[in-house]
Symmetry: C2
Subunit: 340 residues, 2 copies
DNA sequence: AAACTTTGCTTAATCGTTTAAGCTGTTCAA
DNA sequence: TTGAACAGCTTAAACGATTAAGCAAAGTTT
């Protein structure tokens, strides 16, 4: 690799010290009293030699890398990829670049990633924390490393976060089903301690209670990420073969919904006539289902942008802001239509 | 932010020079003849102080950042996100991290990104090049900056690349339709000069010719990325209202296919009875369509991994390897079933 | 003309590492 | 008892930038 042009090269080329070159190229000519003619010569040389400052050297000196570490569950998941894209754009708009890593919902991997990124001196983190990673967030906070949580957070860990009101979102989704005449509503979620998913269950339960429906715990099924496809299939089978089978099904994520819908399609169950469906989060797959799926839509743009803005604020003045939960929107389509 | 522990801190703590600490922590104690007891004390101190080396400083010294710059069209696109994830994993396995950027198929943005990443001293690039970005690749090559192109390449620009044989893949997809009895096969592609998409058209045409079907240019439609939804709809309408309408449709990408399928669903056209469909690239959306879509599957894992391996080879010894085109697989499902 | 002030530049330290070169003291062969 | 060989450490320069401090020459004030 051809060695890059450095400040020194310009200095030698013009016949001055590197200090002068640095002043001029950082537009400090006025404050630092650099001669007009000299400044012009330096700028000209920098242009001719196509000088590009070495950010690594700058970073070492300044202690700032203008880099954000982004840790998501899995960058190949549409939800993560979407957020990543928005964060990328907002970061770029502010002169930051993004280094990312996928934790696979695994606390060990997440810890690894945090360390790798810390060693690369990221200025701060945006993290969608995985289960059992409370201590990692605490560690960052204790060391005064700027962090903003996104999508999820731990009620036990005081930290800046940007998220939706999951309980409310689930509540509204289920209430919508109830209003449309459904009475036996099943829910499929992940087997996890993650607070935001617990909240979705809580919202579901609150809607059931508020509507004086039978609060039947056996209607709530928990699938494990590791064996998702099989467990979702089995759980749908169970929900459908109850003595009082379900007439509606609420999925706690788009991945769960897509897996479930494949099975429901194979079973040739009429949606929404026999079974109404509401999903969580967007995916283009919802549109291709024979009857478009109703789903809870998160304000992705706002989530991503707020996360970056909040992080940059924290990086700037280290103060803890708080962010209110963002509102979701229920996109109502045919899959949750009125019960015949 | 609490200042991090540096080599100097350890040195002072133990009462030795930083050089010694560096030798020990880099496991050069034998070569550099460091006393056993001393080495142990240094290691102990490093552990107690929780020393983490500053990669920025290392990079400045070594000229290596162990960072790969990844430029894709759009990280929120499932194809890009998938590749990104594979690249991330393979990079991590080799001690590299990934900085990414989305070019939005725009040469100016791509040039911006290259410069930003160059200033951050990435050791090399993996790029899915956008239209009209030949000069950028040439620039990198001229400056001996390691680059590997992925998914796409320019026949006019000699460069390392990892890609599939797009012509062959399209040929096989269309031949499959022909073998199943379809005769009027339309194709929807992007309006672009990008070689890999031209190749897909070429493969389509070759299949038509080899089968002695009517080579009708009006069956090939080109939609513009900027106005995709509307143009795809209109073009499907056109293809269906020809005096001799199409009985099969080949989409050059998954994004085109998903947009097209939404329209076809709204038109209530029976697939594959009235219209057979073959798509390009995977998406979970294909599975939820009432009749699962046949598609060309790229060997994503191999593409991503080969790209990283090739790049690391180039970084190591600067020699130009060549990579053969990888094979695709046609995943045959109901949407291209035998013509009744 | 002496005493400041201003202008326009240079010097050198610094960030946290790496690493070639040098310095001391011990051991051992001749 | 001299000096070569070696073990075990330190010194200092370097990577490429930033920036406080200093210095010489010219200009201004009294």
């Amino acid at each position: 690799m051809k060695r890059k042009v450095s400040l020194k090269d310009i200095a030698q080329h013009v016949g001055v010290s590197t200090a002068l070159v640095s002043y001029v190229l950082n537009n400090q000519e006025k404050e630092k009293r650099v001669g007009e003619e000299m400044a012009a010569r330096i700028r000209k040389a920098a242009g001719e030699l196509n000088y590009q400052p070495n950010q690594i050297a700058k970073s070492l000196k300044s202690g700032k890398t203008y880099t954000i570490g982004l840790i998501v569950a899995d960058i190949s998941n549409p939800y993560s990829a979407n957020i990543a894209r928005i964060i990328e754009d907002e970061a770029k708009r502010n002169g930051y670049t993004v280094i990312f890593g996928s934790s696979d919902e695994n606390a060990d991997k997440s810890w690894d990633l945090i360390n790798v990124l810390l060693n690369r001196q990221v200025d701060g983190f945006i993290i969608a924390p995985s289960e059992d990673s409370e201590s990692q967030i605490l560690y960052l906070k204790e060391n005064n490393i700027p962090v903003v949580l996104i999508d999820r957070y731990f009620p036990s860990v005081p930290a800046n976060y940007v998220a939706i009101d999951n309980c409310k979102a689930a509540y509204e989704a289920v209430m919508h089903l109830i209003r449309n005449g459904y009475r036996r509503i099943g829910m499929i979620t992940y087997k996890t301690k993650l607070f935001h998913l617990q909240e979705r269950v809580k919202g579901y339960q609150k809607a059931i209670e508020d509507s004086n429906l039978l609060d039947d715990q056996s209607l709530i099924k928990e699938a494990r990420e590791s064996n998702l496809k099989e467990e979702v299939q089995q759980q749908i089978d169970e929900l459908l073969s109850l003595s009082e089978p379900i007439d509606a099904l609420f999925f706690a994520s788009n991945k769960l919904a897509v897996n479930g819908l494949k099975h429901i399609k194979n079973l040739k169950i009429m949606v929404p006539e026999k079974l109404a469906i509401v999903g969580f989060d967007e995916t283009e797959a919802y549109d291709l289902y024979h009857c478009p799926i109703t789903y809870v839509k998160q304000p992705m743009l706002e989530l991503g942008r707020s996360a970056v803005k909040l992080l940059l604020d924290v990086i700037k003045d280290d103060s803890v802001k708080d962010i209110s939960n963002l509102d979701t929107e229920l996109i109502i389509r045919e899959s949750s239509g009125n019960k015949k």
